[in-house]
């Protein structure tokens, strides 16, 4: 359109094409106002802030490869006889779902690569989400105003688990069918409605002919759709809240220090997407994942040892493996506690970590916004809780792979099961106590460093013969960094009577809160950070005479 109107004597010099397009868009979308706030938005640099990006990018990779796979996959349980190019299956009866997955692996050029990228990216997606969640947890990034975003992230993790599980079930191979059978058995254990749920989910008795098609729509439409929405909301909130940062010179609770989105983060984040995609593609090129052709088609009367779910479901596998086989008769009905209890603990394990921010918020009653991250040592109780939770989670993961630990470390499977049964209760407690102690030790070291400087490694001999190590004082930036965190005071119940002499009522919830608060911030739960007075006192003492002081210092 512009060629016809363009003339050399156009008085108003026309704006460049890009600007004209932008003008057009601005008139309809208001992009200039959007860009004003966001184009040079500042992001802080820290490797741990990119864990979420790994999750995001692997999610995008999963969607891209997943769309490709839908072009070839037949979500049908109709039985066919295989006549494709994989010899060891020729003539075997199998479902169309399985046959089409074998075809993707052997007859579609590049199909195997895309399948493996899809599956590896899924494992990495969930691993990255967990690590990202733990980063947020241990640095206290979930505090106000980010509690809702924490929940969005948590929901993404849980939905990711189920999307992964439904995807794992689709090829209808021997391993995935075993997993589905396990799920069906677990559903049957639900009191009162278990059999109904199972019949409705499978369209009749297991395995029926429906579940692949049903899981398919859940796997490719329902769950990813919800996840996509949550991812967008999650990102909008990240933009809106602006990123958290670690304390440091010039980095305060009211600013964010870093480099602008355009150009630095555009290049870094955009480039990182390609790095993630490229690395996952290389991993998929060199390592097999889920060789369904070797597993064979699903038959309810066949099974392979080493039947495990993908890693993110491993803790539920551990729960179910170590549970004793309790089954009781309740008024003529069977209560399958041996299966139902793990089924109930399974979500509770996840909920335990999800609600933590709200418990901490309730205990501290801290109304402020927090944009400066905690160093894990400076929140010993939180850190100890997080490590205890991780310990719990990993003990269950060990339980989920008990047969493989048994064969590869020459142990008895029964002994491992018993170890996990005990460690399920003991492990988190030990981890909690040990972690808290380590945190307090690190706090002490920080205080020491602030007051006396860092050990320089230089040994000096004093005139009277004594050897001392010279301590290098910290500069102000480091002093600030090590003392920037705030330390809460434990809550008090307050006087038993109010100012009018009337007895105050203190509810049990408040008593619990005060007790917890004492546990968090009371004596022995944090090391008081050095004060300016302490510092100045030591500095002044040093000012009088080096030798004596350093000697005295050595004796400290």
């Amino acid at each position: 359109m512009s060629t016809s109107t363009a003339s050399s004597d156009d008085k108003n010099r026309r704006a460049p094409a890009g600007e004209r397009v932008a003008d057009w868009a601005d008139g309809r979308l208001g992009i200039y106002s959007l860009a004003k706030a966001n184009m040079r938005k500042i992001f802080p640099d820290h490797w741990s802030f990119m864990l979420g990006e790994i999750s995001l990018y692997s999610f995008i990779i999963i969607i891209l490869t997943g769309v490709y796979l839908t072009l070839f996959f037949h979500p049908s349980m109709n039985e066919v006889v295989y006549h494709g190019s994989y010899v060891p299956l020729q003539g075997v009866r199998m479902s169309e779902a399985y046959a089409s997955t074998v075809d993707i692996s052997f007859d579609v050029r590049g199909g195997l690569l895309i399948r493996q990228i899809h599956h590896w990216a899924a494992l990495i997606f969930l691993a990255a989400m967990l690590v990202h969640m733990m980063r947020v947890f241990f640095t206290g990034a979930f505090r106000k105003p980010r509690e809702i975003n924490w929940l969005f992230g948590f929901l993404l993790f849980v939905l990711g688990m189920f999307t992964g599980f439904t995807g794992y079930s689709l090829p209808d191979d021997l391993l995935s069918g075993t997993g589905v059978r396990f799920m069906q058995g677990a559903i049957l254990s639900v009191p009162v409605v278990g059999t109904y749920l199972s019949m409705f989910l499978f369209g009749g008795e297991f395995p029926g002919g429906d579940f692949v098609a049903r899981f398919y729509s859940v796997h490719i439409l329902l769950l990813p759709g919800i996840m996509l929405g949550l991812v967008v909301a999650h990102l909008i909130l990240v933009f809106y809240h602006k990123h958290t940062q670690f304390a440091g010179p010039g980095r305060t609770n009211t600013n964010v220090v870093g480099m602008p989105l355009l150009p630095v983060y555009m290049a870094k984040a955009g480039g990182f997407f390609f790095l993630v995609f490229g690395l996952i593609a290389i991993v998929s090129a060199i390592a097999t994942i889920n060789p369904i052709w070797a597993l064979g088609p699903y038959r309810p009367d066949q099974v392979s040892t080493g039947a495990q779910p993908d890693w993110y479901m491993g803790f539920s596998e551990g729960l179910i493996r170590v549970m004793p086989g309790w089954e009781i008769n309740f008024l003529g009905h069977t209560l399958v506690l041996g299966v139902f209890i793990p089924l109930v603990i399974f979500p509770l394990v996840l909920v335990a970590i999800a609600v933590y921010p709200f418990i901490e918020g309730w205990v501290t009653r801290d109304p402020r916004e927090h944009h400066i991250l905690d160093r894990p040592r400076n929140a010993p109780t939180r850190t100890a809780f997080g490590v205890a939770w991780l310990t719990w989670y990993f003990i269950l993961l060990i339980g989920g792979g008990n047969d493989l630990w048994a064969t590869h470390f020459h142990l008895s499977i029964n002994a491992i099961t018993w170890f996990v049964r005990v460690a399920f209760f003991v492990g988190p407690v030990v981890a909690f106590v040990v972690t808290k102690r380590i945190c307090l030790g690190l706090q002490r070291r920080d205080a020491e460093k602030v007051l006396h400087g860092r050990e320089s490694g230089i040994i000096k001999r004093l005139p009277h013969g004594e050897f001392i190590e010279v301590h290098t004082p910290l500069d102000q930036a480091d002093l600030h960094r090590l003392t920037a965190h705030d330390q809460h005071k434990p809550a008090e119940i307050g006087p038993p009577v109010d100012e009018n002499g009337v007895r105050r009522k203190v509810g049990p919830a408040e008593k619990l809160r005060v007790k917890l608060s004492k546990g968090y911030y009371g004596e022995g739960s944090q090391i008081p950070k050095p004060t300016a007075e302490e510092y100045n006192e030591i500095a002044a003492a040093h000012g009088h005479g080096h030798e004596e002081i350093t000697t005295g210092h050595g004796n400290h």
Partner: protein
């Protein structure tokens, strides 16, 4: 010579002498083997039984009893057949080194000729499955796909979907089939060594055993194909998860560290 005489009281001396004697006998026999075929077979058979008995008395009798009747340390061998001996001794499981949950595969200490003699002796104690002929166990021409189906019905529950082995109760295991020879696989199915159940010809005909062997060779042999790259031990999701965490996420985090790290500053001028 001095060295040699110093060792003549060594506990293994008798064994060594016996072995030498056996080798000499075998060699002499081979050299002077009579020409009459039918007669030779019979004679060689009884000779083998005799030699096997000697070997048995030295190496096996302490646990399995002097006449193969068994004891508290070892099961009776009457009726286990030559195939069982060929498997147990031929894979080094027997003679056992120490009691335990399970006797593991070890270095084979007898020669094939000795194993045959032992087998002949044990077979003479009571009828049992004989050592299969090459024709019986050779997987050539077998139906691999049928073998796969049979393998999944009868074997994968213990040995894993590509025969990588798996755990049993109290420290026992179903061993990996990696490197197992077709003959030994055949014999194991036939005789059910240790805690493995047997799959006799009456319930699993010879042809099916061949099919299974052919399948094992295809998925776990030297030339087993793994089109997607490293097979990560063929153990399924546990090893995949470990690999995904360590190499997948590990490499990505290393990349993240590089992306976020400060670029080296110029030296202070």
């Amino acid at each position: 010579m001095k060295k040699l005489s110093a060792r003549r009281r060594h506990p293994l001396a008798a064994v060594v002498v016996l072995l030498l004697a056996l080798a000499a006998t075998g060699g002499l026999y081979a050299a002077f083997a009579p020409a009459g075929k039918a007669q030779a077979d019979e004679t060689s058979q009884s000779l083998a039984i005799e030699e096997g008995k000697k070997l048995y008395t030295v190496g096996c009798a302490s646990c399995h009893g002097t006449g193969g009747q068994g004891s508290s340390d070892g099961p009776p061998l009457v009726g286990v057949g030559a195939a069982a001996v060929d498997f147990q001794v031929g894979t080094g499981r027997m003679p056992a080194q120490q009691p335990g949950a399970q006797v593991p595969k070890k270095k084979v200490i007898y020669s094939q000729a000795e194993i045959d003699q032992l087998a002949a002796y044990v077979a003479s104690l009571g009828a049992g499955p004989g050592i299969p002929t090459k024709e019986q166990y050779s997987p050539a021409g077998a139906d691999i796909a049928r073998g796969g189906d049979l393998f999944r019905t009868n074997c994968t529950q213990c040995h894993n979907f590509t025969g990588e082995g798996g755990a049993l109760t109290h420290g026992k295991t179903a061993p990996s089939l990696e490197g197992a020879s077709p003959r030994h696989i055949y014999e194991a199915m036939q005789t059910g060594p240790q805690n493995m159940p047997s799959f006799p010809d009456s319930t699993m005909p010879e042809q099916q055993k061949k099919d299974i062997i052919a399948y094992i060779q295809t998925v776990n042999g030297e030339k087993a194909e793994s089109p997607g790259g490293l097979n990560l031990g063929g153990l399924g999701p546990v090893s995949e998860g470990l690999f995904g965490w360590i190499f997948g996420l590990g490499v990505l985090i290393a990349a993240a560290v590089w992306v976020a790290a400060h670029t080296a500053k110029a030296k202070k001028s």
